[in-house]
Amino acid sequence: MSISRRGFLAASGLAVASWTLTACGDDNDDGGDSGGKTKLSVFSWWTGGGEEAGLKAMVADFEKKNAKIKFVNDAIAGGAGDKAKAVLASRLQAKQPPDTFQGHAGAELLDYVKAKQIEDITFLYEQEGWKEVFPETLLPLLTMDNKIYSVPVNIHRANVLWHNSQVLDEAGVSAPPKTLDEFLDALDKVKSKGKIGLSIGEEWTQQHLLETVLLGKLGADGYSALFKKGGDWGGSDVTAALEVWKELLGFTNSDAASLTWQDATKLLSDGQAGFNVMGDWADSYLSGDLKRKPETDYGWAAAPDTDGTYQFLSDSFTLPVGAKHRDAAIAWLKECGSKSGQDAFNPKKGSIPARNDADPALYGPYLKWALEEWKKDKIVGSLSHGAVASLAWTTEIGTALGLFLQSKNVGKFQDALGEAAEKHAV
């Protein structure tokens, strides 16, 4: 008995000891360097397709400039980053931040700022002269209390209406609709040919459609005002927008809930649907993955009634408080804001650089058009992609939208939107 007891104690002691040892080992690994290089852990949700290719291109450029830093990819898969954000939240709670992490530029970063989890990096903007090369209308959208907390790598546009040229020809629609009324007419024509008017996917893509309709009905200023303190969600123009949106949903496919955005865009590519409203990442999916010819197989325009407005969203990188390799992280942020970095990343990712001195020759037909628009359009932020509302607010709007899809009650939906704004607007 006594032997076995001693044996047990020895065994448990060993187990504890080895656990401590491995824990120490991890620490050494984290804090130290490999082969004289500093390890830089970069957290993102870029794990596939053009995103990954873009990241690799930028990393290659980065490592060429910074021979002393080894890039460690801490990416977590999942579109729009919902899973990555959950992992990130727990790492930040535990005060174990990556050296730098990806976040949607704008209001979505507010939570990190409030929790004092990311640093003010205005000094980088001054040092690198970024205030001159980023568009004037963009900077206010990145600034909170006169401080800037992230470096935008790319710019995507949310308010884009895609169409299948052949389906439109058959339905007798000569040009993409400019207004919401024209849009409804065109959808009617497509539907009468036995096709899906507007292809759509799961809940968030319906929210994406809603934000473009809100922008169309309220205009750039009215739309932006909704997300400021005291924004009027109860007004008749919001009601009108919700009614139109509800009408548009009547032209969509019945199996929306089981389709991802790719599935919905593929319906357009396959000639099953006439239109699709999706951000401009759809372009690299259509031309890259599905091998469709831009301007012949498919075309694009600003979403109805939103011409002259660029509803943007942007992936940006931050400097977490307590980053283990702060200097390396700053080197990465400089890369993110540099011309060579952005021109390496964006043609592959299928977005345009945030800087206005990009080299247009590197970009395809859609992106060339987008570059032109970016320079002359009025810029507003996207709701579904974190530019204008905090995560908590966006989630609450998503909940209200989901409940609306069950009840189809516009009045109740509008009330819920108003309540969410009252609770979350800052």
Partner: protein
Amino acid sequence: MKRVTSTWLPGLLLISPSLIAVGIFVYGMIGWNIKVSLSNWHTVVEDNSYAGFGTYRDLMDDERFTAAWENLLTFTVVFIVGTMVMGLIMALLLEKGVRAEGFFRSVYLFPMAISFIASGIVWRWLMNPAPGERASGLNVLFSKVGLDSLQNPWWQDQKWGMAAMAMPAIWQMSGYVMALFLAGFRGIPDELREAARMDGATEGQIYRHVIFPQLRPVALSALIIVGHISLKVFDLIVAVAGQQIIADVPAVYMWQSVFEAQDYAKGAAIATCLLLFVAVLVVPYLVYTFRQEKR
């Protein structure tokens, strides 16, 4: 005195590691979770000040919360009835002595070895509601065999969607219930059946009056196990439907409250409600088995 110590001390030492671990990681965490649910921690900034039951009261008025419980109720009823009935039927068939029993037993049990995430993704394809020529999965199968009327939107049906959602779970867990029942059948001595036969009982009567009453503890265990799996369901729903209101359940709502909306108090309150419901199911069972063992 010394002898007394030597009888309980080794035992206590032996279980103390797990006692401490369970104390911290189960009961400590439950306590902490309840504390968070009663706090003002509604944003990303930690705030442990006491707020009372306001978060719970808000949840009661929350349309999404109610809808999630309704969904869960539909799911649970269909899932429990489905697994119990299927499990019992399969156990009965095997118990009656089919050829290659071992083979069938394994086949029925295999689905349990797959995670809900993996089977959920496959069932997402099978239960594809796309209409007409785009149809796939079970709907295509139905149209191929001429049963077009059986085609339906599966989990995207507003009213009965959650019943369809229970199908993958039934498929996965009924083998387990079968194993429990089969063990129960095997535990009943043959003498009892023989005695009943001697008394002139028909086969049906033997099952009704002799076998099934003896299976009651097994059935109860199965019910509790399946029931608490059902209340906690999360992975299957997320794999099939993602996080959409149409297939919302409390566990998914909890996840979104904490990790997306960053409302820690609300997430903790939902977690506490879930725990209470599981306790309502499990505690009477524990009391019952405790009494049985004492007897």
